[in-house]
């Protein structure tokens, strides 16, 4: 009997802990995770996005932006190019960049995009629209990238 009580208590405790640990964490996501996905056009476009993020991690923001635009020239439906543009806009505090998030979210919804990509989009919306609840959410669910409330180019790459 006592064993049963202990078991029930343990289960209750475990369930309680589980509920206290907050929302489930998403798998960390980087665009390089999806570099091999899609048709040849998408893959080429994503490679250009990755080159752009490499430039973005350094001082050459103009070159990064130009590469994102080239990525869209190759595949205008690539959500990751818009995600990278949104990230750059968020970094320079350009609120108009929220339209990149709109586009990224619209396009991500059309494909089997990893949850982490959706979370990045939500986080970037949080930064651009100054919505702390979104930042708290992505901070809890994707702390590897969003613990500091921002997403740098290396974290997205």
């Amino acid at each position: 009997m006592s064993r049963l009580v202990v078991s029930i208590l343990s289960l209750a405790l475990a369930a309680g802990c589980a509920s206290w640990s907050g929302p489930p964490r998403a798998e960390p996501f980087r665009i390089s995770d999806v570099a091999a996905q899609g048709d040849a056009t998408r893959r080429a476009s994503t490679r250009l996005v990755l080159r752009g993020l490499e430039a973005d991690a350094g001082p050459d923001r103009g070159r990064a932006r130009a590469l994102y635009q080239r990525a869209l020239q190759v595949d205008p439906t690539n959500p990751y190019a818009f995600l990278a543009l949104a990230r750059q806009a968020a970094e320079r505090g350009d609120a108009a960049g929220v339209s990149y998030v709109d586009q990224a979210q619209t396009l991500l919804a059309l494909e089997e995009a990893p949850e982490g990509a959706h979370l990045h989009a939500r986080g970037l919306r949080g930064v651009l629209e100054r919505r702390s609840e979104l930042l708290r959410e992505v901070g809890a669910r994707a702390p590897e990238s969003w613990a500091d409330g921002r997403l740098d180019a290396r974290e997205l790459r």
Binding site: A40, A44, R65, D102, L107, A109
Partner: protein, 810 residues
């Protein structure tokens, strides 16, 4: 006293002597006169010379200190991008390379910059370097492996590294010229290779570094030579004098002009150092023609003859440029390779003799074959785009700025698509006139316009504003406002389908009556009619649009209201003010094809309205980014409604008024709408794939009947363009968003089709708007899990979603 006497006698003697020698005294006076006159004359001449010198000096200073050159701004295309998997036919690589001035050569090894070799299994290209503040690319030797017409692999030959993508330089689309129609690429003397300067000095002015503007030794030499020849065979002008002649003077041959030239040359030499003079000369000198455009300066000449920047010229190429200064057209290598080579070799010999070139370099240069870049005339097809771009450039880029500042405008234009568009319009109109000769007769010329946009970025990829820019510069894509007819109807359906408080619940399966309708208006009773002059009874919303029934659309418009229709059209991208009249529902509104394309792009872009973008950035002559046009859009419609409208228009192409597209063998995801205005005076087709929106309009500037429906006028032009543009492979698909569900309905009544329903087809609905009536009527509609959450207006759980997905699949 004696002295007094002597003086008296002397005076007397002088008087008597004077009388005897009166002539010398007169001569003295004359000499005094002459001397005085000469003095006066020289004073006046000196004064005038001083004045003239001052005047000429002011002219020289004004020119040198002010804008030395007027440089037309150039417009460049979007770059061509190669990547593994790309179908080569889509970019027409060989033609693109040739247009960019690359030369095809027979060997694959030691490929110089700007050359390519087309082998059995691939292409080797030595891509040129490309300068841009944020998009610079170094010169790179690349091997492109081809398999079954696709790029299989890209590899940097020097590093052996595989490349993910290769960008080719943007192509020249055109330039904004001033009245003189000159083009030049300004260079700094420091950027000009030493051998080019030496070549120019060797043949044009070997004592340039020593003289003071005029070269007396050379003038004397020329004089002797001319006397010996009995006519003018040699000139004695220095570079500075040539510069003066080109900058300030007319070609008139007179001593006065020659004197002015010499004086100004000296003034320039006094005021400016030799490098400044040389730089001005190198940028000013006329060096040939590209079609109607005069090419000035070594920078532009280097692009014209060798397709590369002046910095990358070889010795023998420099010698050629210097060689043709004497007679740019007569000695043009494009005209006569032999005479150009002879003259080039002469320059090389002069360089050797004057110690400007070592013997080894001479041997190498003189044995180099003359290889010039193909002449790449400016594309004529893009003139309408250039005008549209000029109108979209910010206000401070006025005409004066564009024709003088030498800006580089990196446009969004895809030159390949532009050519395809021009050909589609040209060929399409020719076919129409061939099939219906009446269109080629009578007043006016049959016109058309085609504009292609990328919906996700708003970029204009191609634009043909009329049949022939030469005969009419009026741009029918952006400047014309023509009755929209049925291409306007999707906005009515969007206004009806869009969920709103208190609005009618209309779905694609809802039914509308296509029976006679009378609407009282301020100008009388309006009775809309269908194109086939028939009425079709009760039809579904889908059928009404697919078949383009006017009466049904007018009735739907009555339910929604003209105000709301106009508001929705405005939100989607129609900027022209629209009349709030009942007939707006069937397109009684004048709009431009560009705004129509934009509104459809909003639907293709799932409710995000793109800003129209014609350029990416503008770079000033100092290499800085002067202006940038960002990709921008705004959510103006929910995704679900945008998808429903798209699905409706897919039906138009699959089964409706634009099914000619399918009959023409165009497969893949396409949505669109035909439009024919009253009396068939305007024919439209606006259609889109997931990545491309194309609007086509056909008609006369002074409206008259085409006598044909748009499916036989505008649709074939659209098909011609899209088939070639996509290479027959339309990428992507229209995917329903999460809030759209697909259920089986009865095709005529739109009722939910259940077991026992005699016919059924799948239809899309915004979640929660599925039909409540059933087919057969007695059957009970099953309650499915998401009905419950639709009631609760909560999002479904995982189990529910999976279950729904499973049911949807069923």
């Amino acid at each position: 006293m004696a002295a007094k006497q002597r003086r008296k006698q002397a005076r007397k003697g002088r008087r008597s002597g004077g009388r005897r020698s009166s002539r010398p005294r007169a001569g003295l006076r004359w000499r005094r006169w002459v001397g005085g006159i000469l003095l006066l004359a020289s004073g006046v001449a000196g004064f005038l010379l001083g004045q003239t010198t001052q005047q000429l000096d002011r002219i020289v200073v004004d020119r040198f200190e002010g804008r030395l050159f007027r440089v037309p701004s150039r417009v460049l295309s979007a770059p061509t991008i190669l990547y593994p998997g790309l179908e080569l036919a889509q970019i027409d690589l060989r033609a693109t390379l040739l247009r960019l001035g690359y030369r095809e050569i027979g060997r694959a090894t030691d490929l110089p910059v700007g050359r390519f070799h087309w082998g059995p299994r691939g292409v080797r290209v030595h891509r040129r370097a490309f300068d841009h503040p944020s998009r610079s690319e170094p010169a790179r030797l690349v091997a492109i492996r081809i398999r079954n017409g696709d790029v299989e692999e890209l590899r940097d030959v020097q590093t052996g590294r595989e490349l993910g993508a290769l960008l080719l330089e943007p192509e020249l689309v055109g330039a904004y010229y001033g009245p003189d129609h000159e083009q030049r690429d300004l260079v700094r003397v420091g950027d000009v290779p030493g051998h080019l300067i030496e070549a120019v000095l060797a043949v044009e002015d070997q004592r340039f570094r020593e003289h003071f503007g005029i070269d007396l030794r050379r003038i004397l030499g020329a004089l002797v030579a001319n006397l010996q020849a009995g006519g003018i065979t040699q000139g004695g002008s220095t570079l500075t004098q040539q510069l003066v002649k080109n900058f300030f003077l007319t070609p008139e041959r007179s001593y006065r002009r020659k004197a002015q030239e010499a004086l100004m040359a000296v003034l320039i030499e006094v005021r400016y150092d030799k490098d400044a003079i040389l730089e001005a000369y190198l940028n000013e000198i006329y060096l040939g023609q590209r079609g109607a455009t005069a090419i000035h300066g070594v920078g532009e000449a280097s692009r014209l003859y060798f397709g590369k920047s002046v910095r990358h010229l070889d010795v023998h190429e420099s010698a050629l440029i210097a060689a043709i200064i004497q007679s740019p057209n007569g000695l043009s290598p494009h005209r006569s390779r032999e005479s150009a080579t002879r003259r080039r070799d002469l320059v090389l010999r002069l360089m050797l003799e004057q110690g400007r070139l070592p013997a080894s370099a001479y041997e190498q240069a003189v044995s180099s074959p003359l290889k010039v870049a193909a002449v790449t005339p400016e594309p004529r097809e893009a003139r309408f785009f250039l005008d549209a771009l000029r109108r979209q450039l910010p206000e401070y880029y006025d005409s004066g700025t564009l024709t003088t500042e030498g800006l580089e405008i990196y446009s969004t234009l895809d030159l390949r698509l532009q050519r395809v568009a021009a050909e589609a319009v040209r060929g399409g109109l020719a076919d129409l006139e061939k099939g219906r000769p009446a269109l080629a007769e009578g007043p006016g010329t049959l016109q058309a316009c085609l504009v292609a946009l990328r919906p996700q970025t708003g970029e204009v990829l191609a634009m043909v504003g009329g049949r022939d820019y030469g005969s009419s510069q009026f741009d029918r894509c952006t400047q014309a406002r023509r009755p929209a007819g049925s291409v306007f109807k999707p906005f009515v359906y969007v206004a009806a389908l869009e969920p709103r408080e208190g609005g009618p619940r209309i779905t694609l399966a809802s039914t509308i009556s296509d029976d006679p309708l009378e609407v009282k208006t301020t100008s009388g009773v309006w009775k809309p009619r269908n194109f086939d002059r028939k009425f079709h009874g009760v039809v579904t919303v889908r059928t009404a649009l697919e078949r383009s029934y006017n009466v049904a659309a007018a009735r739907l418009g009555q339910q929604v209201g003209a105000e709301r229709i106009a508001q929705v059209a405005g939100r989607l991208g129609i900027e022209t003010p629209l009349p709030r009249v009942p007939s707006l529902a069937i397109g009684a509104a004048d709009v431009s094809p560009l705004e129509m394309a934009r509104a459809y792009a909003t639907l293709a872009n799932r409710g995000l309205r793109p800003e129209i973008r014609t350029f990416e950035d503008v770079v000033d002559p100092r290499g800085g980014t002067a202006e940038r046009q960002e990709i921008r859009f705004q959510r103006v419609l929910d995704e679900g409604t945008a998808f429903l409208a798209t699905s409706l228009m897919q039906g138009v192409v699959d089964r409706g008024t634009a099914r000619a597209l399918r009959q023409a063998g165009i497969d893949g995801p396409i949505a669109g709408k035909t439009g024919t205005s009253d009396d068939e005076r305007d024919a439209w087709f606006v259609g889109f794939t997931p990545e491309l929106v194309v609007a086509v309009w056909v008609g006369f500037d002074q409206p008259r009947s085409l006598g044909l429906a748009s499916s036989r006028v505008a649709v074939p032009i659209w098909a011609r363009f899209v088939r070639t543009a996509t290479g027959g492979h339309i990428r992507g698909r229209f995917v329903p968003p999460g809030d759209v569900t697909r259920v089986a309905v009865h095709p005529d009544t739109g009722a939910l089709a259940l077991a026992g329903c005699p016919a059924q087809r799948a239809e899309y609905f915004l979640r929660g708007t599925e039909p409540s009536s059933t087919c057969p009527e007695w059957a009970r509609r099953p309650r499915r899990p998401w009905d419950a959450h639709a009631d609760r207006e909560e999002s479904p759980g995982l189990i529910e979603r999976l279950f729904k997905r499973w049911l949807d699949r069923l």
